[in-house]
Amino acid sequence: MKRTAIVGCGQTDHNGNRFDVTGIELIHEAVSRALADAELTIEDIDGVVIGNMDHFEGINGVELWSISGNGGILKPTIKLTTGGTTGSTLAIGGYHLTASGLFNKLLVIGWEKNSESDTTGAITTAFDPVWDRLVFAGAISGLAVEASAYMKKFGVTEKDAARAVIRDRKHAVKNPHAHLRREVTIEEVLRAPLLSDPIKALDICPRTDGACAVIFANEDYAEKICPKPAWISGAANRHPYAYLGDVDWYPLKSLALASQELYAKLGIKEPLKEINLMELYTPYSFANLSWIEALGLAKPGEGAKLIWDGVTDAGGALPINLSGGVLSTNPIGATGLIRAAECAHQIMGRAGERQAQGVKKALSTGFGGCFWSDILIYGSEKPS
C-alpha cells in the first residue's frame, strides 16, 4: 500500500440556484479550479471518480453525461453514489484507489444541483418502497426523532442547538464559497418556522447547487505536486441498519464505531486535544451537539457545554466547521467531499480568511440518510 495525499482542491461558489450553468458546466468550474490549485493539467490525471445522487437531477449515468466537463474522456472513469455520504465515500474511494498504487493522480468530483428538482421527493426514493417510504422517508423526519430523543435523555434545549447554528453561520461569512453567508442570532433560530418538531427552518441545512473537485496523489507524486500535501492518515465507515424502526437513537452508533476504529489505529487517545480541526457533516443543529459526543469529544449529554464555551469556535481549542459547515452549504453529492477539501486546504495553508493556525491533524465526516457514517483523518506529516 502506498501513502497518499490530497494535493489540490477546487470548489464552485455555491448558491441556492445556479441556473446560469448546466451540471456539466458546474462540474467543469470545480475541476478547473482543482487543477489550477494543484498546478496540473487534465493530461496529468490518470482516472476520474464522480458522484452525486441521480434522482436530484433525474440524470442516470452522470459519469457519461458530464464527460465533457469532468475531464474523463478516454480515461478510466467511474461513479460512486451512497446517498448523503456520497461526498465522503468519494474521498475514501480516492484514498483507496491511489493507496492501492493502481492510480497515481486521481481526480475526484462530487456535485449536485438541488434547484433542478424536489429534494425531499428525491431523497424518498432512497428508502424502502414497501416500508419506510410511506411514513418515514425524507431528510427531516428521522432527524427530528433523533433530536427529540436526545433532548429528553439529557435535558438539552432548542437554545443549546441554536448556539451551534450561530457558530456555523458566523464561520460561513469568511468562506467565499459558502451558500448562506449571513450571521443569525439565537432568537432568529428559535423563532424560525417549525418544520418537524423540534427542527425549525434555521436548524437544518439549505439545498444548494455546487460542485467540489479534489485531486489525490500517492507518495510517488504528492510532494512533487504540492509543497504541503494533506496526507490521509486513515478512513473508516459504518452502515448500521435497514429500516428506521431498527435505529438506536443515541449515540450515533455508526460514527462512534467508525471513529473508535480510526482512533485506535492511529493511537489517538484524546481527540479533543490531539486533533486541531474538524469539518463535520452535521446537517442539522442538534448533530453539532450529540454527534461530537459520538466522536468522543464530550461525555454523553455534555456536547452543548463545549459549544457554549466556544471551544469549537474559530480561535477555540478545536475549531469545528470553519467553512460554515453543512448548515451553510449543502450540494448533497459534494457535501462530504467539501469537508475533505476544507481539511486539506487548512493543512496546506490555503484556506484564505478562514485559515486556522498550526493545523497538523484534521478530521472530516460524512453522514447518510439511514444514520450511517464515514470518517477520514488527515495529517501534515507523511505517515510513517
Binding site: R18, D20, T22, I24, H28, G69, G71, S115
Partner: protein
Amino acid sequence: MNEILTHPSRIKVPYTWSAGEALSRFFKALRDEQKILGSRCLKCRKVYVPPKKTCGTCFVECSEWLEVGPSGTLVSFSQASYPSPAHRVLKPLFGLIRLEGSDTSFLHMLGETNLQSLKIGVKVLPVFAEKRTGSILDIAYFKVVS
C-alpha cells in the same frame, strides 16, 4: 402454493433543467435571429454544433462563437415506421446533418420529402417555425434543396 404479493406505487418527481450558458445562447439565436450557432475549441479548433462551453477532449473553453450553415449535407437518414407518442408527425424522417462550417453532425427532422427520394450527400436547408420559443423545435425541419 406460496402467494407473493406486490406493492404498486409510482414515482413522480418534477424537474427543471438549466440549458446552461452555451445552449441558452444557441436557443436564443434560433428564436430571435433564426441563426444556427456553433462554438469552436480554442485548442483543437473543432466546431461543435450544438455548441459546448468546453471541449471535453482538450479540456479548454470553446469560447469562439460562429454562425454555421444554414445549408448542410445529409450524412445519414432513417424513417420511424411505427407510431409513437414521442413523434410530432406520422412516420417522421430523421436526418443526421453536417452543417456548413461544423465539425459535428446534428440530428433533426426532414420535411417536404419522402424516404424514396432521399440520398446521402444531398444538400439541405432549415425551415424555421413561425412561432419560436427558444427550443430545438424552432427549426421545424430541414428540406432538401438539390
